[in-house]
């Protein structure tokens, strides 16, 4: 009996404990179940991520092993600045114009790319082209011609190899823009604030084939610089080969005999030679003085001299003074004074000459908080030329530049030209979109 009670008591207590513990156990699993479920789910996600990361790392390691095992070419130490690089810059223009006595029209569509190929840290090849459109012509039954269809013109502006010899000298070889003044080297379409070139620039050779050494020497830590350029080129030539001042074209029209755009070393019969006995030499010395950003003065003197007739007896020489001044980001003034001397067989030495001066002012300086006005720059230029054979021409230009962006410009100007030659005197206006890229 006593045993029975003992067994019964133990069984009863055990049942009660079992019930209590069971109910408690059930309550805990309900709360923890979802938590544990979430934890398991998260852990599963983490494991998947770890597996993926491991797979990527394994692949990368495998690739590294391959590159280590097979180093075909060593990697460049220059990082993102690759040792070789090819790129294109340049400009494009579209013009609308009206010349007095002629119909207005879209007059100009020009694309001027510059291709740059950097072969190393010290070698660059650069070539500039000028691609434009011009009306073609058809010869009619009566022998007259009339404009018909169009033709594309492609001009090589320059093609040169630059070799940075050291910090102070660069060797340039090829077909180069010549540093006679600064206009040619800084005269791309979107750099000009006026669409036309200054009149006296026609008196100079823009480019030539040859060799040049140029560079700059800092004069102090503020940015002040002395610059120099020395070059030898084939030089100008004679249209008819003689040393006469003028010659006659196929239509019996008198034209200047001096040819400033030819003599590129390969003759029309494909033989190679300079058209006269000796090349021309030239150079420029410059001084650039900035006293802070947007405030600077630049002065330069440049010149060139050499034979121009086939016999090599007559010299053509040029001298140019150039100056540029910036006072604040808003005001700029610049200009060139150009003198040339041409020895001739028939009229002795003539001295074609001229000058141009240009000033511009950005209206943003007035701080009027007007979006359109703030993006306008007013510009004016006066240029004058004298051919020393009786014709003097002067031009006054007033215009504006509207900056649609830092490289997209909408330019407009009105030009008034006066001349001793009535055929040259006229007024006209030009509108131009210019884009630098």
């Amino acid at each position: 009996m006593r045993n029975y009670f003992q067994v019964s008591s133990v069984w009863t207590i055990g049942c009660m404990m079992g019930l209590v513990l069971t109910s408690h156990a059930l309550a805990v699993s309900d709360e923890d179940f979802n938590t544990l479920k979430d934890q398991v789910s998260k852990q599963g996600g983490r494991i998947d991520q770890v597996e993926k990361t491991q797979a990527v790392a394994t692949n990368t390691a495998a690739k590294s092993e391959v590159s280590v095992v097979q180093p075909v070419y060593p990697a460049s130490a220059l990082g993102s600045s690759a040792s070789h690089n090819f790129m294109m810059v340049g400009d494009a223009e579209v013009q609308f114009g009206k010349v007095e006595g002629q119909s207005s029209g879209f007059t100009f569509a020009d694309f001027a790319p510059i291709f740059l190929y950097r072969a190393s840290d010290s070698v660059l090849f650069e070539a500039g082209f000028d691609i434009g459109l011009q009306n073609g012509s058809t010869t009619l039954l009566n022998g007259q011609t009339h404009d018909s269809s169009s033709q594309t013109t492609i001009d090589l502006s320059f093609a040169q190899l630059d070799y940075l010899l050291n910090d102070y000298a660069t060797i340039v070889a090829g077909y180069m823009l010549l540093p006679l003044g600064t206009y040619t080297e800084r005269g791309a379409g979107w750099l000009n604030k006026i669409p036309d070139d200054p009149l006296p620039r026609a008196l100079l050779q823009d480019s030539g084939i040859g060799v040049q050494i140029r560079g700059s020497i800092p004069l102090d830590d503020s940015g002040q610089v002395f610059t120099y350029a020395v070059y030898g080129v084939n030089g100008p030539s004679s249209v008819d080969g003689s040393g006469n001042s003028t010659t006659l074209d196929a239509g019996s029209n008198s034209i200047p005999n001096l040819d400033l755009g030819g003599n590129v070393g390969i003759k029309s019969d494909s033989t190679t030679a300079n058209l006269h006995s000796s090349p021309s030499g030239g150079g420029r010395l410059g001084w650039f003085l900035p006293w802070k950003a947007h405030y600077d003065l630049e002065l330069g003197v440049s010149g060139q001299s050499g034979a121009w007739d086939d016999a090599g007896k007559r010299l053509w020489s040029a001298g140019v003074l150039d100056a540029a001044l910036h006072l604040s980001p808003y005001f700029e003034a610049k200009g060139e004074c150009i003198n040339t001397w041409q020895e001739t067989d028939d009229i002795g030495t003539i001295r074609p000459r001229g000058f141009w001066i240009q000033a511009s002012y950005k209206l943003a300086a007035l701080d009027m908080d007007l979006p359109i006005v703030n993006d306008v720059e007013l510009v004016s230029r006066y240029d004058r030329t004298d051919d020393d054979m009786g014709t003097r021409t002067h031009r006054c230009t007033m215009g504006y530049v509207y900056y649609l962006s830092n490289t997209l410009l909408f330019e407009g100007d009105y030009e008034s030209i006066g001349s001793d030659d009535p055929s040259q005197a006229h007024n006209d206006f030009v509108l131009q979109f210019s884009y630098g890229f």
């Binding site: 993102s80 910090d167 979107w190 830590d221 410059g286």
Partner: protein, 102 residues
């Protein structure tokens, strides 16, 4: 009495002139020293050299318009075309490459 007073006044007057001269001289010396400190040009940064050189001919391009490798090519082109000294070209290139963002 008046004579001794006059002598005193002259002495004080002379001392005053000496003191004034010393003050003016020291002021000039200090001003010149300060002037030397302020007049000595601080070497321009790459960004300043970029503004100084590039605005001579065209509006500044944004550094992000080209990659670091392209800026290196352009810098050689402009160093030759605009006769930019090597030391300045290097500082300008460093600025442009850092700001190019790639």
């Amino acid at each position: 009495m008046n004579q001794s007073r006059s002598v005193k006044l002259r002495r004080w007057g002379g001392a005053a002139w000496v003191a004034a001269g010393a003050i003016i001289a020291s002021t000039i010396v200090i001003a010149m020293a300060d002037g030397e400190k302020t007049a000595k040009p601080k070497a321009p940064t790459g960004a300043e050299l970029y503004a100084i050189n590039c605005n001579r001919c065209h509006p500044e391009r944004y550094p992000t318009e080209w990659t670091a490798a392209q800026w290196k090519t352009l810098m050689i082109h402009m160093r030759v075309r605009a006769n930019i000294p090597a030391t300045q070209a290097k500082k300008i290139l460093k600025y442009l490459q850092e700001e190019s963002g790639n």
